[in-house]
């Protein structure tokens, strides 16, 4: 079963409540991941409870802050600072705020992990989690061509491989 099925959407209002509930249940925080979705960012919280994994998904619209969970899980401070560095997402309530300088130096580009401007991005994978085996695979990332980008002039890499699968 796809792990995407277990992703629970949360809002700014109930994020801390949901995380506190998971903490009460003995879950440990594995990590957070962040994705530029074009109209903002999706932040995913990955928790483990014994051999189960639980995922929360928080959509952060552009310009709005993400609420830190570092008051509940102190270790989240590292990855929340990293998200702030790499994606430029403002994070409220960090227990230790590196001001966007945890992994980036002073002369580093701002928010380098965001998609380039001008790309129409839908990074979601509609129906991928529920697609039956053997069904045609949906495009995982739909990115329209950017005529001005240098990457557009580069031919796509060959996708063939040598040797077969066992």
């Amino acid at each position: 079963m796809s792990a995407l099925l277990h992703t629970t959407p949360v809002t700014s209002e109930n994020l801390l409540h949901e995380v506190a509930l998971l903490k009460q249940q003995g879950c440990r925080l594995i990590t957070l991941t962040c994705l530029d979705t074009g109209n903002g960012h999706d932040v995913l919280y990955h928790f483990a409870r014994k051999y189960d994994m639980i995922h929360l998904r928080k959509h952060v619209p552009t310009g709005q802050p993400l609420i830190s969970i570092s008051t509940l899980f102190g270790c989240a401070m590292i990855v929340e600072n990293e998200i702030k560095d790499h994606f430029g997402v403002p994070v409220d309530g960090l227990t230790l705020d590196f001001q966007g300088r945890l992994v980036l130096t002073e002369d580093a580009p701002r928010a380098p992990m965001n998609k380039p401007c001008g790309m129409d991005i839908d990074a979601r994978v509609p129906g991928a989690a529920t697609a039956p085996a053997g069904a045609p695979a949906p495009a995982p990332v739909s990115v329209k061509a950017v005529p001005t980008s240098a990457a557009a002039a580069v031919p796509p890499p060959a996708s063939g491989t040598k040797g077969g699968a066992a």
């Binding site: 796809s2 560095d85 992994v103 695979a137 996708s159 066992a166």
Partner: protein, 190 residues
């Protein structure tokens, strides 16, 4: 009145196993603050992975970490297979488990050895490295490489383990077991 000065310590320095910069704030000769800058090992692999296709990314992701490289490649392949609904042959799944377990053993032995070395227990470090060598040779025998196996691919594996190697793998594992058992007993003072 004491004079404050800042001395950059690192990012490259002989005492550091990995690059890091500590900005040491001194008042006269006394260090009153040490501000870390830890981003020197961040390589931006995520950004590079976005620019390559799924098949190329297997090689890239296998190089996230040299110690647990097979795990990264296997997890990535499993993720892509799940997204695409790709079936994986049973034999390929068994082979993945075998390589993953062999890789796990070498990773744990390396960790234990380096841990021992870090607090001066060099004898345990040498014992662990000796045991690990057998494991690494099994990886070389089955995959052709000692660390970066590069056997996992989307949809299965690239290589097979022929039946005539099974005995040699058993011999190597028995040798590891025979060497490791007294070592752990002595190290735990049991």
């Amino acid at each position: 009145m004491s004079q404050r000065s800042i001395i950059p310590f690192g990012p490259q320095h002989p005492v550091f196993p990995e690059p890091i910069q500590l900005r040491l704030v001194l008042e006269d000769e006394k260090v009153v603050e040490a501000l870390p800058a830890i981003g020197y090992v961040h390589r931006g692999l995520e950004k590079l992975a976005e620019q390559k296709d799924f098949l190329q990314d297997v090689y890239l992701i296998e190089r996230i970490c040299g110690i647990c490289s097979f795990m990264h490649a296997m997890n990535y392949c499993q993720g892509i297979e799940q997204l695409l609904g790709l079936p994986v042959p049973d034999r390929a799944r068994y082979l993945r488990v075998i390589w993953a377990e062999i890789h796990r053993m070498h990773s744990h032995l390396l960790f234990l050895g380096l841990l021992a070395d870090s607090f001066g227990y060099e004898n345990l470090f040498m014992q662990c490295m000796r045991c690990r060598e057998d494991i690494v040779q099994v990886m070389e025998m089955t995959a052709g490489n000692r660390i970066l196996l590069t056997t996992c691919c989307i949809g299965g594996v690239r290589k097979d383990i022929p039946a005539n190697l099974i005995d040699q793998i058993h011999l190597a594992l028995n040798r590891v077991c025979a060497r490791l058992s007294p070592t752990t007993t002595r190290s735990r003072n049991a």
